[in-house]
Symmetry: C2
Subunit: 292 residues, 2 copies
């Protein structure tokens, strides 16, 4: 449960409720780049430690996992967040899935079909780079859903996330909030830098031309799908250093709240140590390392 | 094709052929810890750059990928390699899969069924922490396969990997070679350190008691499944710093050999830049960032 709590200042400050913070602002935490980078460094250590405990819990039979859902306009930094935040922890514990426009094969299934296949295993941190929210966002902006269909889809999305909570997966939904001015700069950077050009898609300009419609659609999503078990957070994302720090802290607070625990050994550690000592002695006597 | 080449000194030095190098040795590259850590740092940058190009190629429609297969006795450092080597690159481009003892559901399928489900997507680096080789290793040591069955399984494994090569996946098979003395130390460390105890499994001592049988089985595997398209490398792994450096270099040489290329844009970059300039001008005139 993401409830108000003294130990979760970042979640409390960034949880969506009413107007979104300015994309260039720093509503909580470091307001300057140098400080943010320094704090991201130490966040990396805390995040790694928490991730390892969550992973160990999973190995020990625990079923809990975390799912980070990243949404945002093109160039808002979903990929950068994966690289700079999830890149801080052991890849064994991370399951990344990017969702592009559904393929013909995917479209023949229910829209949650391809989503379910990518859920994190127990102990893992799953990351969705775009997600099931594209399935309300895009058709809505394209005017393909009636009001009744929209209502039904919201109910489905909420039921799906309630099911995840029930199964032990804590969902953290993050909207990376950039300004159209910043988007323009980033699109330009993609075009002028040869090694970045592959990230550019002329279709991004079409989506951009519907900017207000997308903002409305997101506002509606936040209103209809912010639940206690799967809240939305809006992260100001014009500054990459702020975005990285904030997402790292959201993950830290969320996992810390779960209090993941290293599993209790189901063996007698002293007896095992005695066996090892015996093996070591034997090896020494025989001048080899193994008793076979 | 992994062919002898002046640009692949690490692959050439570590490719299995005859007796394995000493687990504590450094047959190629840095022989001291400080130097190895320094060189791993710069290897990280090269590996990241190559991985990004491979990933970009995949986004652009390329089908190539890399699969790193990690095998080795318990505590040989498969997990540590994932953390320290794959942790150097963007998690978006990495697909990790660990294979434990097959579940009841998995055992009802062909042993390659669960393997196929975890293959890397185009542009990705897949990592198998244990792999399809467990399916010859364990039954063989347990005496469950007749000679004819073994022969058939080797043929299957080679056919499977030939199929992967055909599909564009370059397979890099690494045996992390530790000594039984080092294993004993690492097992002890797992037992005496509370946060490491979850990694200890009393069953590891059973496997250890069959050490020579495992070494024989591996020798047989190297002989029967080292192919030009999917060679085996033996990495001395008593020193973690050497292991990490060596695996990073094996990946670097392998991916560099593929010469992954950023995709050519299928749009007119100048025309797109002109559109952006127009949008920027419009935004300035209207005092807002979006032309809607």
């Amino acid at each position: 449960m993401a409830k108000k709590d003294d130990g979760s200042p970042v979640r409390d400050a960034l949880r969506v409720g009413g107007a979104l913070p300015d994309p260039g602002s720093a509503p909580v935490g470091p307001g300057k780049k140098a400080k943010a980078l320094e704090r991201l460094d130490s966040a990396g250590e805390r995040l790694s430690a928490l991730q390892e405990a969550l992973y160990a819990e999973g190995v020990g039979g625990g079923r809990r996992s975390v799912l980070l859902v990243l949404q945002g306009m093109d160039t808002s930094g979903k990929g950068g967040t994966v690289s700079h935040v999830l890149g801080l922890v052991n890849p064994m514990g991370v399951r990344y899935a990017g969702f592009k426009k559904p393929t013909a094969a995917e479209r023949r299934h229910h829209y949650l079909w391809r989503i379910r296949k990518q859920l994190p295993a127990p102990g893992q941190i799953g990351v969705f780079d775009r997600s099931h929210y594209e399935d309300i966002l895009v058709p809505r902006v394209s005017g393909l859903l009636t009001k009744a269909e929209r209502r039904r889809r919201y109910a489905e999305l909420n039921a799906f996330e309630a099911e995840l909570a029930e199964a032990g997966t804590t969902v953290v939904k993050v909207f990376l909030h950039i300004s159209p001015e910043e988007q323009l700069k980033r699109l330009e950077a993609r075009l002028v830098t040869p090694e970045k050009r592959w990230k550019y898609n002329p279709g991004d300009l079409d989506a951009r031309s519907h900017w207000p419609a997308y903002q409305d659609a997101y506002a509606d999503i936040f209103e209809k799908t912010s639940t206690p078990h799967a809240p939305w957070y809006a992260v100001p994302a014009d500054h990459k250093w702020y975005r990285n720090w904030a997402v790292a802290e959201l993950l830290i607070e969320t996992i810390a709240d779960l209090r993941p625990a290293f599993p209790e050994p189901d063996f007698d550690a002293d007896a095992e140590l005695a066996k090892l000592a015996k093996l070591a002695k034997l090896a020494k006597l025989k001048g080899v390392g193994v008793s076979s």
